[in-house]
Each structure stands twice: as C-alpha cells, then as structure tokens.
C-alpha cells in the first residue's frame, strides 16, 4: 500500500505540488490525469525520490520512506518507468533489464519472465536499444522496472510518442501485472486511455487535486471542468 500524505513540492520559487493526498492498494490502478505542467510527473518523481518534498510524507506499507534516496526506494519495492523511457544507450536490451535488478530485490520477475511477457524481446536481447522502435523501447523500460520486483509500479506517460495501436498494446500488459497484486500509479496525458485502464483517477490542476473518483462515475463535463479549471473556483472571474 502506497500512501502520499499532504505532499508539497517546490521547484525553486514555483510550487509544483500543493497538499497532495493519495493511496494505491495492491492490485489497484490509480491514474493521475491533468494538463501539461499540472504536476503529474513531479508527483511520480517525488514518489521515487528524485524530488525532495518541502512538506508531507510518502509511506509504503505504513513505513515512512520520505528520507530514502531513489535506489533505496527501489529496494523497498517501488519502481518507475520514467517519461521518455531513459534506456541506457550503450547497453544491450538484456543488460538494460539486468540493471533493473541492481537492487537485488527477490520476486517472481526475471529476464526470462520479461521475455515471456514481451515475446519478441528474447530474440533481440543482444541488440543495443537504439535499434528498437519507440514501442519496443517502452517495453524494455517496463521490463527494466519489473526486474526490480516492485510492489508499486509507477508509469510516467507510457503513450508519449507512440502510435495509438502501440499504446493499446503496451497498456495491454497492465491487467496481468495488476492481477499479480501490483499497485499501479500511472500518469497519462491521454485521458481516455488512462480512464480505460484505471480503477480510480485523480485530476491535478496547477499542483492541486481538483477531482477524484471512479472513471464510471465521473461525467465528461465534470472531468473537463476539473482538467481545465473551469469549475470549483470561487471568486470573481470564475463564472465560466
């Protein structure tokens, strides 16, 4: 169980996140949606430890991990598939996966299990990742994160730069992961895609939560309002 409590993160003078609360249970998928600059990526990067919060805390199974550096958070069971994939260009496909096991955390994931999940990958394991297409690279990035045997998987903009069919295929592996009891926290600009796979969603606007709920219960109008900040604001000038 991942919990984020009253998280506030600043980038210099800019307040990127303000008082964010969320929780993801094992086997659950929570989608964070929001426009560019809403703080979605900052939230994921804070959970993995790349940003230090100025207030609030991050807990995993009740244990406060706010002070841990990224590699130590991987060891306790959090893994991030970063925005832009961030594969190691001078390493082969298989070596990229093996680096994902650097924490030595035990579990059911291995190089072989990743090759079963993505059947094409085994044949191309010795190739450098620059030879792969965008979708294939995204699959390697997911595989690398799985190699850490995470309890909580963070996915940052999986769809970025990929063709729609490829996006569906990449998201197609998600149910299998969730079924195994993994908690998934994902950030996605493609709102329709995010709502299709998520159990719950949370909408961010300028670093604050403006709407949360289940995809089935939220109307399009409500989501649009929360997404663009058209409602829920009091004071003059918010009549729209």
């Amino acid at each position: 169980m991942l919990e984020v409590r009253n998280l506030t993160v600043r980038h210099g003078y800019l307040q990127a996140l303000t008082d964010i609360n969320l929780a993801v249970a094992p086997g659950e998928t929570l989608a964070i949606i929001g426009a560019n600059g809403a703080g979605k990526s900052t939230l994921l990067r804070s959970v993995i430890g790349l940003h230090r919060p100025s207030a609030g805390s991050i807990l995993l199974d009740g244990r406060d991990i706010t002070a841990l550096p990224p590699h130590a958070r991987v060891r306790v069971g959090i893994a991030l598939v970063p925005e832009g994939r961030r594969l190691f260009p001078s390493l082969s496909v298989e070596e990229n996966l093996l680096v994902g096991h650097a924490s030595g955390r035990s579990g059911s994931w291995s190089v072989r299990a990743v090759y079963e999940l993505f059947s094409w990958m085994g044949d191309r394991r010795r190739e450098p990742t620059v030879h792969l297409s965008g979708g294939e690279q995204q699959a390697v990035a997911i595989g690398r994160a799985l190699m850490a045997n995470p309890q909580v998987l963070l996915l940052d903009e999986l769809s970025l730069g990929l063709a729609p069919t490829m996006v569906r295929r990449i998201y197609g592996v998600l149910p299998e992961l969730v079924q195994k009891g993994m908690a998934v926290l994902l950030v996605e600009q493609d709102v329709a895609q995010a709502l299709r796979v998520a159990d719950r969603f949370q909408c961010l606007l300028e670093g604050r939560t403006t709407l949360e709920g289940k995809p089935a219960e939220a109307t399009t109008a409500k989501i649009e309002a929360a997404y663009f900040g058209l409602a829920g604001r009091s004071g003059p000038g918010s009549a729209a």
Binding site: I48, L50, P69, P70, H71, A72, V74, R75, A79, L80, P82, R86, L87, F88, P89, S90, L91, S92, E95, N96, L98, V99, G100, H101, A102, S103, G104, R105, R144, A145, A148
Partner: protein
C-alpha cells in the same frame, strides 16, 4: 639509436602513457570529472612505494601489491568525501577542487620529502635489455610496463563488459538519474570507478618510479601527457588510451631522434594535429561493450 629502435622505444613508452591515461579516462567517462590532480596522485603513489620499500624491504617491482589496493581504498574515500561533494555543487567546482588537491599534494610532498628527485632501485634490471637485432634492443623495464598496461586495459575492459558492477558503471555513465531509479546506488558506483582509477594511477606512479626519476612537482607534466593520450585516442575509449599513448610515445621518440631536444615538442604537435583534424579522437568513444 636508429629509426626502428626509436619507434620501438616510443611504442613501449606508450604503455606508460596509457597507464596514466586510463584512470583519467575512466573517471572522466563515468563520473564526468576531470581530475587535475591525476599526475600528482601518481607521484604520491611513487612516494608511498618508497616508504613501503624502506619499511618492509619488498622489492620495488612488487610494491604494487600493497600500494595499488591502498590507493583503491584512498580513491573511494576521495570520491565519496571530496569529489562527490564538489560534484553536487557544480561540475566546475570539481576542477577547482582537483586543482586544489594537486597544489596540496605537491606542497605536502615538498615539506615531507624535500625537492630531491628519487627513483626506485631496481638493481641490474634497470639496464637489462632484450637484444632483438644488433640495432634493436628492448629494455625489460619498459617492456614490463607496456605489458602491465595491456593487462590492466584488458582486465578493465572485461570487468566493464562482463561483471554486474561493470554494467552498473556503464549504466551510470550513460544516465545517472535513470540508473538510480533502476536501483543502482550511483554514489557507490562512482566510488568504485574512482577506486579502480586510483589503483591504475598507483600502477602508473610505480611505472614512473621504475623507468625514470620523480620529484614532488613531477605530476602536472604527467597529467599533460595523459590528457594528450586520452584526446588522441578518443575520450571514453579504454583501448583508445593505449593507441593514443603509443602515438604520443612514438611521436616523442621519433622527434627526439630528429632533434634531441625536440621530443616533447613533437608529441605536442601530433596532439594538436589530432585535435584539429579529428577532435573526437582516433577510436570511437565506447567505454561500454
């Protein structure tokens, strides 16, 4: 001395330069730090070997068994406690810090060991040579240094390409942030890379003391040659340091053959020519694979 002999001596000299250069290249390729105190650390290792020789009476050529591991530990400490701290401030700070270390080491050695120059007492080995032909004879000491360089580079290459730590080092060199979120403790990895770099610089210092004399201020000149070998060979390429070292060594030996005082100048000219015509170096950068 004839031309064949000059070229042969130049090639062997390249081994010494490669030993100096590979640690510099590794630290730059992985940690992105230009260690301006690299040559001074080598000289420090040579002085440490003198202490080891006088206290334990170990033969000079075997001091590496003690000096290299000590320098590896020392290197890990220097990386974690000094270089990493300055790296966290800004990359430029590391230049100031390593330059400062260079000044401190030189002056400490001057105070503790005086300005006298030293060299290791290798007995009769220093003048022993393999007579290949009447014109060409190869000294055992330069040959030993060259072979050491080849063994070190081969070992380093195998370590980087085959071991889990080597993989983590390459991953961290590629993308430090991405490797940290993959579970790699990048500070520890940088420490290990520095430990290896310092072990090689210790070997370079011992090779220096075995083949010529050294004094507290001998470091910076060695740093310049190491830089030139790295640039000629290609930044980030381990075998490039050997190629670069050999080209530099041959240029110096041939230059000295033409004019006895022109050796170092010839080396610099070749370096400048490579920098102008092929600034990426002769061997494509791949610390990896």
């Amino acid at each position: 001395m004839n031309w064949v002999n000059a070229i042969a001596q130049g090639i062997l000299l390249g081994g010494l330069y490669a030993l100096f250069a590979c640690g510099l290249s590794l630290l730059f390729g992985v940690v992105r730090v230009v260690n301006l105190a690299h040559g001074d650390f080598a000289v420090l290792a040579a002085y440490l070997a003198l202490v080891v020789i006088s206290t334990t009476h170990v033969p000079a050529l075997l001091t590496f068994v003690i000096v290299a591991p000590l320098f590896a530990i020392f290197g890990y400490g220097v990386q974690r406690l000094i270089i990493q701290k300055s790296l966290d401030v800004s990359p430029l700070t590391t230049l100031l810090v390593t330059f400062g270390l260079s000044v401190v080491i030189q002056n400490l050695l001057l105070v503790v060991a005086s300005a006298d120059s030293h060299s290791f007492d290798l007995g009769s080995l220093i003048s022993a040579a393999l007579r290949v032909t009447p014109e060409l004879s190869i000294g055992y000491v330069p040959l030993l240094i060259f072979l050491t360089a080849v063994v070190v580079l081969t070992g380093l290459q195998l370590f980087l390409s085959r071991s889990a730590m080597g993989r983590a080092i390459r991953a961290s060199a590629d993308d430090q942030e991405a490797s940290s979120i993959a579970g790699v403790n990048t500070r520890h990895v940088f420490g290990i890379a520095a430990a290896i770099a310092f072990a090689t610089v210790a070997l370079a210092g011992l090779a220096l003391g075995s083949s010529s004399s050294f004094d507290p201020s001998a470091g910076p000149a060695r740093l310049v040659f190491a830089f030139e070998a790295v640039i000629i060979g290609g930044v980030g390429s381990l075998w490039g340091t050997l190629v670069g070292g050999i080209i530099l060594g041959v240029a110096q030996a041939v230059g000295a053959q033409i004019d006895p005082s022109g050796g170092v100048l010839a080396g610099h000219l070749v370096f400048l020519a490579v920098l102008a015509l092929r600034p990426q170096g002769l061997i494509r950068a791949r610390l990896a694979i």
